[in-house]
């Protein structure tokens, strides 16, 4: 087990949070996100203000009751809400925590996992969500799998939620349903409350209302020319990580109303000829919205995404046949496994079909495929996704990056060249 550096001895009084490196990083991203673009939707102010308060001023989001951290979207949040606990998604996008994580993790490992562990290693981590009573760690990709031991070494209690390696066979499905039931049992012991059809149904109602709101937003993004920029939608879905679910849903519903008004008024958030981009690959998590921001600063517009920090987390909804616990919990388990297009499964037929469907329905011009350095599963799928999209006539740009800002100029060249080639193709192929 790696010996972990002790708490950094604060020789001099630590600077007020707002001047720490992490705050500056968030501040920088937020200013770019807000100021580089004219007329952002009014209802986005709630989200900008939320991120400023939480990430830049380090405001505490302490919530009473049991806090259950989750390191991946496979952990069913409905079960956590049903038992009165609050889910806290621990995926982290800050370069600051990535550096801290890199001190005790292999250099070539995925920046997201490094950042998450950096976050967990820091006692007063930002976003300030309070002491976690349990971390549910779905065993999806290898690095998250191995990070569970590291998290335990950091003093957290970790429950490994076993995710099957393939999702087509029946025993994989049963295996997953059993894992979810074990999780329910573990949460019951943790919170000391009993799962009943009533409280699970109420929890599922909250989540499905949030999902319904997201789906309306998703539908609005089909408009050509676009009504809302991709960076705003990524910010909205990133807010879902830590914001209170009901407040988040209300804010998204307000945003939807404003977008409907924009559609009626024929408002354009991007130029008519702006290349429409489908974003997929490793999830952009605030403050690492570097690539989407770069695309939209260079004149493109991200109209759809297939990443687990946005679409994959909120899109697929649960259908229940009989409102009794065995069927409800199994339906939840199925919803989190069967449609999931996570690259950690054996075959990615679902993901390719999903990308093609998104590309066609959103009339995208090109696909940007982000791969975090060290994220081996997404890199392995890059070729098959590129070929599938190529056959369907959608060019794809694969970009390997990580959380550090210093490869910005090289990325700019690639992104601009890609967008220019898309504009040229559009001129020859009357859209």
């Amino acid at each position: 087990m790696p010996t972990l550096p002790a708490e950094p001895t604060a020789a001099v009084a630590p600077p007020p949070f707002s001047r720490s490196r992490q705050a500056r990083e968030a501040e920088d991203t937020l200013t770019h996100l807000v100021n580089d673009f004219a007329d952002n939707p009014k209802s986005m102010d709630y989200f900008y203000d939320l991120f400023r308060r939480v990430f830049c001023q380090g405001e505490s989001l302490e919530r009473e009751g049991v806090l259950v951290g989750t390191t991946c979207i496979h952990a069913p949040e409905e079960l956590i809400y049903a038992l009165g606990a609050t889910p806290v998604r621990l995926c982290n996008g800050s370069y600051h925590y990535d550096q801290i994580g890199a001190e005790f993790m292999p250099a070539k490992s995925c920046p997201l996992v490094k950042a998450t562990l950096g976050l967990l290693q820091d006692s007063h981590a930002v976003p300030r969500v309070g002491k976690l009573d349990l971390i549910v760690n779905p065993t999806t990709c290898d690095q998250k799998l191995k990070s569970s031991a590291l998290m335990t070494a950091l003093g957290h209690t970790v429950h490994d939620l076993e995710v099957p390696r393939s999702k087509d066979t029946e025993h994989a499905r049963v295996y997953w349903q059993r894992s979810v039931r074990d999780l329910t049992e573990r949460l019951r012991q943790l919170t000391g409350r009993r799962l009943t059809p009533r409280n699970l149904r109420a929890a599922m109602a909250r989540t499905s209302r949030a999902q319904a709101a997201f789906r309306v937003l998703h539908e609005h993004r089909r408009a050509a020319p676009s009504l809302v920029l991709g960076k705003d939608v990524f910010l909205v879905t990133n807010a879902f990580f830590f914001d209170d679910i009901d407040r988040w849903t209300a804010a998204v519903e307000r945003l939807n109303a404003e977008l409907a008004a924009r559609a009626a008024a024929g408002f354009q958030a991007a130029q008519t000829r702006a290349p429409r981009i489908l974003f997929t690959g490793s999830p952009p998590i605030f403050p690492n919205l570097k690539l989407p921001l770069l695309i939209e600063q260079s004149g493109g517009v991200v109209v759809a995404d297939e990443t687990c920090s946005a679409n994959r987390m909120l899109y697929d909804m649960t259908a229940v046949d009989e409102w009794h616990l065995p069927d409800m919990v199994d339906s939840l388990a199925d919803k989190y496994l069967k449609p999931c297009t996570c690259p950690t499964f054996t075959n990615n037929a679902d993901r390719r079909r999903r990308l093609l469907d998104l590309a066609r329905t959103f009339q995208v011009d090109g696909v940007v495929y982000q791969v975090f350095a060290g994220c081996q599963v997404y890199e392995m799928e890059q070729k098959s996704v590129a070929d599938t999209l190529q056959q369907a006539g959608f060019p794809m740009l694969a970009i390997e990056t990580d959380y550090s800002p210093d490869d910005l100029s090289q990325l700019t060249t690639r992104v601009e060249a890609f967008l220019e080639s898309l504009k040229a193709r559009k001129r020859h192929r009357p859209s």
Binding site: P395, D407, T413, A417, E420, S421, A424
Partner: protein
Amino acid sequence: MSYFAGLDIGSTAIKVALVDQDGRLVGVHVAATGSHFHRNAQEALQTLLARHGIAREQVRYLIATGYGRKLFKEADDSISEITANALGAHEVGKAYGGVRTIINIGGQDSKAILIDPHGNVANFAMNDKCAAGTGRFLDVTARNLGLDLDELGACHLSSQGPPLSINSTCTVFAESEIIGLLAHGHGKPEIVAGIHYSIARRTVRLAKRVGIEDRVFFDGGPALNKGLVAALQDELQHELVVPEFPQTTTAFGAAILARSEFLAEASLSSSAA
């Protein structure tokens, strides 16, 4: 008579190309980037104009490309060097019967571009994270062997034995390996040939990622090096086309685009007026 200029502000060299009203190349000029690239870029443009006796006002439209394109304020517009290179190569390639694959080895990066019949970029791959296989690798080698850059080509051609295999592709370690090979009494020509072949192999691998089709267009500074061209030809097994001014194809592409942009805007304003 109006002219159009393309200014490629590269990492090691600034290239300027001047095109007249009918799109014909008037002249090119190459100057070192140095540290004040802003001033050097203006000087390079000035020297080229002076050489052909053209006033600055006659240059109606100027497009900058390359790493410094965004910072060169006098430019009317900027374009990424990949699109510029593609346009340039497409234009120049017509003389050789049309090209589809472009290999460009620059000062600090190497690019492989696949273009469609109209000259638009269909696919591209870049290696700008490691100096191996770039112009900088050749500079380091030349300095180690005490040769000038333009002597490398002749030296390669004068080698008798098979080219040595330089297995470490990293610029820094290649240096120590060259010193070791010299110490073992291997001839300089064989070492240079070895270096050329290692760059060629690495570039072909990059080109394969975008797909190699039709005639292959090879440009960028190192394309002047005859030895490297021979090595690449051997590795590629495709017909290799090296233009007369390989360094300035990108600048030429930018100039062509400047002209078409200007004419498009002009026709637009005339039809609007």
